[in-house]
Amino acid sequence: MNSSEFGNVSWVYYVVGAYAVVVLSLAAMTLSSLRRFRIARRALKEEGFSDDKV
């Protein structure tokens, strides 16, 4: 077995997988937070509250 392979799987898959999990999770968290903020801010406006400081 090649020293850089584990079973039949190259180390590349593990490393890329680990980095991809982090990047995608943080990106998803950021985008979902921005979306929730926009929805909540719009709803606040509709309820009649000023959003000048929101």
Partner: protein, 235 residues
């Protein structure tokens, strides 16, 4: 009428987002392509440059949540603001704990031969993650605002109590997981590895602060919306 006040420091920190992303990309480049393979683990050790920073961010935000909770209990005038901060910090703690478990599991498969083992470090990290999940469950199922905040603050403090247990678990019990390499004198880790790890950690902490500010704004806005709707219903 304004219910939510813009977090001025959010604007300040959001300006750091781009530099932090650039530093993070440089850190990942150094970890993935610049530094040579480890003599024992080969190239798979490069997972360390993402696994360790997310694990430290999990510790950081869970400890911060407890500090916010304690400050909220100590100063009643700050209770609401501290509750928002603790909630946002636990949000981040949950995500980073999940990421630490996921990346650790991906690293464990090629180095230990298993995706998961009931090792003290892994088990205590899982407990820490589950306490964070319990925080969200408790908040979701408690209708009374004050009771929800009190219960949340107590769980945030409990989650932080577990952090030193996770951190020192590799020293207290016999563990598959390697001990803390960078706090011991005569560490086997090279200065290159330590420097790259530091760059990645600093970048991840700054990114997490920007995320924290964003989450806190979301929490405050949603709570303001709930309060506005409840106020209308009472009228």
């Amino acid at each position: 009428m304004s219910l939510v006040h813009r977090d001025k420091s959010f604007s300040l920190w959001s300006k750091l987002l781009l530099p932090a992303v650039i530093v993070q990309l440089i850190g990942w480049y150094l970890g993935l392509f610049w530094i040579g393979a480890d003599k024992d683990q080969g190239d798979v050790f490069r997972i360390m440059f993402v696994h360790v920073p997310v694990a430290w961010c999990a510790f950081l935000w869970i400890l911060c949540a407890a500090v916010f909770a304690i400050l909220g209990f100590m100063k009643k005038s700050l209770f609401e603001k501290m509750d928002h901060s603790a909630h946002a910090a636990i949000d981040l703690g949950t995500v980073f704990a999940a990421l630490a478990l996921a990346t650790g599991s991906i690293w464990g498969r090629p180095t230990w031969g298993v995706w998961w083992d009931w090792d003290p470090r892994l088990t205590t990290t899982l407990v820490m993650f589950l306490i964070c999940c319990a925080y969200h469950v408790l908040r979701s199922f408690t209708p009374d605002v004050q009771a929800r905040r009190n219960a949340g603050q107590i769980v945030a403090i409990l989650a932080a109590v577990n952090v030193p247990v996770v951190y020192f678990s590799v020293n207290i019990w016999r563990s598959l997981h390697q001990p803390q390499t960078f706090v011991r004198k005569g560490s086997s880790a090279s200065s290159d590895i330590a420097t790259i790890l530091l760059v990645n950690t600093v970048a991840m902490v700054i990114l997490s602060v920007v995320l924290f500010k964003l989450r806190r704004t979301v929490v405050a806005t949603e709570e303001a919306l709930d309060a506005a709707r409840e106020g209308k219903q009472q009228i």
